[in-house]
């Protein structure tokens, strides 16, 4: 993949805690436009925390270090400003919002982001057309547009719903937190194709996964191992194969 010298996401020596517990411990990572980075690592390593810290979840307190998106300090922004700046997090556990229809929610999200960019909002008809296309692309029945956000969706349906939001929001940086967990092989391909369809020279991805399987479909430029709050190893796609065979122990032992 072509990559310019520009950096889209720059995380430098980031440390963060949740409820007095240090979780990120000096994490650094650079993502250039158009790149796909996979992050793997043991449970509890801090992978989801990284997504929450970057997206501005309350209660996740940055202790030191920095994170910029397109050169702008992310950590000073409200959660919604980060989204409007082009950051998108597909949640490991998407939240159910009963009573708020998926379509209404996505329209409001897209409108809010367009407005922030000084663009006019889409007409209902225009948006509906886009939403239907996105819904089809992630292989969910159109009835899901009318349903409450994630309300009663299965695990796999929630993940596809996250992807649908991503398709509609057209972010600059997409962080996918275990979007492949709990998916059967067909659903996995749907997610992978969804991601691949969005790969452009400008858009970057951070893909958190436990499985090499997904990376067969989405070829990463880099693979990182996150353990105990920092990146302890980086490599190319072949690192994922190594991890698949050998697990993480050999890395964490060497580290200790």
């Amino acid at each position: 993949m072509m990559s310019s010298e520009k950096v889209l996401l720059k995380i430098d020596n980031l440390s963060a805690k949740v409820e007095e517990k240090s979780i990120l411990k000096g994490l650094s990572l650079e993502v250039k436009p158009g790149e796909v980075h996979a992050i793997m690592g043991p449970n509890g390593a801090g992978k989801s925390t990284l997504g929450y810290v970057l997206s501005g979840r309350e209660g996740y307190e940055v202790q030191s270090g920095s994170a910029t998106l397109d050169g702008v300090d992310l950590l000073e922004m409200e959660a919604e400003e980060r989204a409007r700046a082009g950051l998108f997090l597909a949640f490991q556990y998407p939240v159910e919002i009963p009573g708020v229809s998926n379509l209404e929610f996505m329209k409001a999200s897209v409108d809010a982001q367009r407005e922030a960019r000084g663009e006019t909002s889409l007409s209902s008809a225009e948006f509906l057309r886009l939403a239907k296309a996105a819904c089809k692309q992630v292989d969910l029945p159109l009835a899901f547009l009318k349903r409450g956000v994630n309300e009663g969706f299965s695990g796999g349906e929630k993940k596809r719903n996250e992807l649908m939001q991503m398709l509609l929001l057209q972010p600059k940086l997409c962080i996918l937190d275990e979007s492949d967990s709990g998916l059967d092989i067909d659903a996995l391909q749907v997610v992978a194709e969804g991601v691949n369809s969005q790969r452009t020279e400008d858009r970057s991805f951070i893909i958190v996964t436990h499985y090499q399987r997904l990376l067969d479909y989405i070829k990463p430029d880099y693979v990182h191992v996150l353990a105990d709050g920092k990146i302890i190893r980086s490599g190319d796609a072949s690192l994922a194969l190594e991890l698949e065979e050998q697990g993480y122990a050999w890395l964490t032992e060497k580290e200790a």
């Binding site: 998407p94 159910e96 919002i97 009573g99 708020v100 939001q165 929001l169």
Partner: protein, 418 residues
């Protein structure tokens, strides 16, 4: 005068009209009555002293334009400070519908009104008795057998600064008739009103009912809607309560005929220091009745809500299906929710459920929505609306639902998480 109750009794003694036989019975009860205190079960959380602290008069006249509801195409009956406003009321009525006023009812209207007046509304409602003896005007609505009235009937009671008014509505649905009735209460300045309505729904008749108890701020508003359901009668009622200095509604539904169906949806939204108190009682006196009561509300800031919902299933009311559900969203730790859903069951072959929940605003959902670019306040409005939207969607009249939505949203926009 020392208080509103004595004042009501004294003034009632001077009222004399065709309703007097009925009024006298209520007056006798009122003479024995005491001003409710904190020890009075039905008024435990709702002090009434505000009525003595406001200066009001039944002589305030005002000309105010009542906003119409676009596209509702309703038959309007407008009362300003208790006085009928002919100019703002509809003059033409659809066939099968007879409407008279309390003051100009003819003999046949009087005949059925006398049998209905104060017969459907239970005597235990103290302010109902006040209304019995003081109601000077109101509407008598009579729907003929087998007739379906397509136009909704909207009864507006608007109060202005310093006004006191007591209005009464009596509605009779003859067998197999169908009508929609909207009771709308307006006026947010210091005022005091009682507004009671009694509905006699005969066999196989269908009543769509709305009560918009949306007076806020200084208004003191007390009233009730009371229903008697005949065999296979259907009631679909939606009550919206906003709360004010004193806002109290009593609802009674009696399943008098078997196989009747009552659906009651209630939404209350309170902010500031508002108070809203709803007492509902459903009497299943006969077998095979169904009641579905869904009460949902959002309470913010220092507001206080009281919900007391009782379903009473009599010994021979076998095969009753009854559900009573109260869900609350607490927006601030300083808000107060007093909820007491009660089922009293004396029959053994029934299916009943009741419950109440109080939840706080879902912070995780707020963050999720913000992470998609919505501002916190936008997210909050959507979340709140989501909480009650299901009930708004169930309103049978979608024009009313459309009219209501922006008002609810405007109210959410004011509420802040505490």
């Amino acid at each position: 005068m020392s208080n509103w109750l004595e004042s009501a009794v004294t003034r009632a003694e001077t009222v004399s009209d065709w309703l007097s036989p009925k009024r006298e019975a209520s007056l006798a009860l009122l003479r024995e009555a005491k001003v409710p205190t904190r020890k009075t079960e039905a008024w435990k959380y709702t002090p009434v002293r505000a009525i003595d602290q406001v200066t009001v008069s039944t002589e305030v006249s005002a000309s105010v334009q009542v906003e119409s509801i676009d596209d509702l195409n309703s038959v309007d009956l407008v009362f300003i400070n208790g006085e009928f406003d002919a100019a703002q009321s509809s003059s033409e009525l659809p066939a099968g519908l007879t409407v008279s006023r309390l003051v100009d009812a003819d003999d046949s209207a009087r005949a059925w009104a006398l049998s209905a007046f104060s017969n459907i509304k239970p005597d235990r409602h103290l302010f109902g008795l006040v209304n019995d003896v003081l109601a000077t005007d109101g509407a008598l609505i009579d729907v003929a057998e087998g007739v379906e009235i397509e136009q909704p009937i909207r009864i507006v009671s608007l109060l202005t600064q310093g006004a006191e008014a007591h209005t009464r509505v009596l509605v009779r649905l003859a067998e197999r008739s169908k009508v929609a009735i909207v009771e709308q209460f307006l006026g947010n300045e210091a005022s005091y009103n009682t507004g009671f309505a009694e509905y006699d729904v005969a066999a196989e008749a269908e009543l769509e009912h709305y009560r918009f108890a949306t007076q806020v701020n200084e208004a003191l508003s007390i009233g009730g809607s009371h229903f008697n359901l005949g065999e296979k009668a259907q009631l679909n009622s939606t009550l919206i309560g906003f709360g004010s200095k004193l806002s109290r509604v009593d609802v009674d539904v009696t399943h008098a005929g078997s196989h009747a169906f009552a659906k009651m949806n209630v939404i209350y939204l309170l902010d500031g220091k508002e108070l809203f108190d709803l007492h509902s009682t459903v009497e299943h006196a006969v077998p095979h009745g169904t009641t579905e009561e869904n009460v949902r509300g959002i309470v913010a800031d220092h507001a206080k809500v009281v919900f007391n919902g009782r379903i009473h299933i009599h010994r021979n009311a076998q095969k009753t299906l009854a559900e009573l559900n109260n869900r609350n969203l607490l927006m601030s730790r300083t808000a107060e929710i007093n909820t007491k859903p009660e089922l009293e069951i004396y029959a053994d072959d029934v299916r009943c459920a009741h419950g109440a929940t109080i939840a706080e605003l879902d912070k995780k959902a707020l963050y999720y929505m913000q992470s998609r670019g919505l501002s916190r306040s936008q997210a909050q409005v959507m979340l709140n609306f989501g909480f009650i939207n299901e009930l708004v969607e169930q309103m049978p009249n979608q024009v009313l639902a459309e009219w209501l939505r922006p008002q609810l949203k405007a109210r959410f926009a004011q509420m802040e998480v505490g």
